[in-house]
């Protein structure tokens, strides 16, 4: 929603640069991780996911890295565009289809 971005850590990136958004997860038993993007006034949209048996997965302009040793997840966006401005959430889950969400990071793309 419109107020989601308040109180969130903010990453400011220049258009064309690469963005890296980080997330620490809490449950070492989680075996599935997702990144969501939420634009103002909209619900979260799926970007990319990764299972715990992988450490890297690539999509279109996005890459997710998983480091299980330190329980860390990152989302890399190549050649960041103004349309990438949004709040990004990581989520962790198990086989029960229930997800636990992080608090989010706001990405601001400057021209």
């Amino acid at each position: 929603g419109e107020s989601v971005g308040l109180h969130l850590p903010t990453l400011s990136v220049q258009e064309g640069d690469n963005s890296i958004i980080n997330c620490a997860y809490s449950n070492s038993a989680s075996d599935y991780f997702i990144w969501y993007k939420q634009e103002s006034g909209k619900g979260p949209q799926f970007i990319i996911d990764i299972r715990s048996n992988m450490d890297k997965r690539q999509g279109q302009r996005v890459t997710v890295l998983l480091n299980k040793t330190v329980k860390h997840l990152s989302l890399q966006i190549a050649a960041t565009q103004p349309g990438d401005s949004a709040v990004y959430f990581c989520a962790e889950g198990g086989t029960a289809s229930k997800l636990t969400f992080g608090t989010g990071t706001r990405l601001q793309v400057t021209l």
Binding site: G1, S3, V4, L6, H7, L8, Y32, I34, Y36, G41, K42, G43, P44, Q45, F46, D49, F89, G93, G94, T95, A96, S97, K98, L99, T100, F101, G102, T103, G104
Partner: protein
């Protein structure tokens, strides 16, 4: 494309009123979820359902109830709305088979005065 729709985008209710938030999905998903989203707190799970007439409490079920009479529809009920239930409410659905991806609706911004 998966479509999850919510009955209202904006809703204003008075303290003590009974509030119904409706969610419909068109992908025949078994799992449906209700979250609330507040600044600085992220998405918190209120209730979820794995099947028709089945419901499970999430992390913050107090003050809420749910109903799932049909597979495609999941309703969130505030029996007696209070000002601390002013929030953005998000519904999601997912197949729960293999992948655990959830698809979200656009959200309902509820204000309780």
């Amino acid at each position: 494309d998966v479509k999850v729709t919510q009955s209202s985008r904006y809703l204003v209710k008075r303290t003590g009123e009974k509030v119904f938030l409706e969610c419909v999905q068109d992908m025949d998903h078994e799992n449906m979820f209700w979250y609330r989203q507040d600044p600085g707190l992220g998405l918190r799970l209120i209730y979820f359902s794995y099947d028709v007439k089945m419901k499970e409490k999430g992390d913050i079920p107090e003050g809420y109830s749910v109903s799932r009479e049909k597979k495609e529809r999941f309703s969130l009920i505030l029996e007696s709305a209070s000002t601390n239930q002013t929030s953005m409410y998000l519904c999601a659905s997912g197949s729960g088979i293999g992948r655990s991806e959830q698809y979200f609706g656009p959200g309902t911004r509820l204000t309780v005065t």
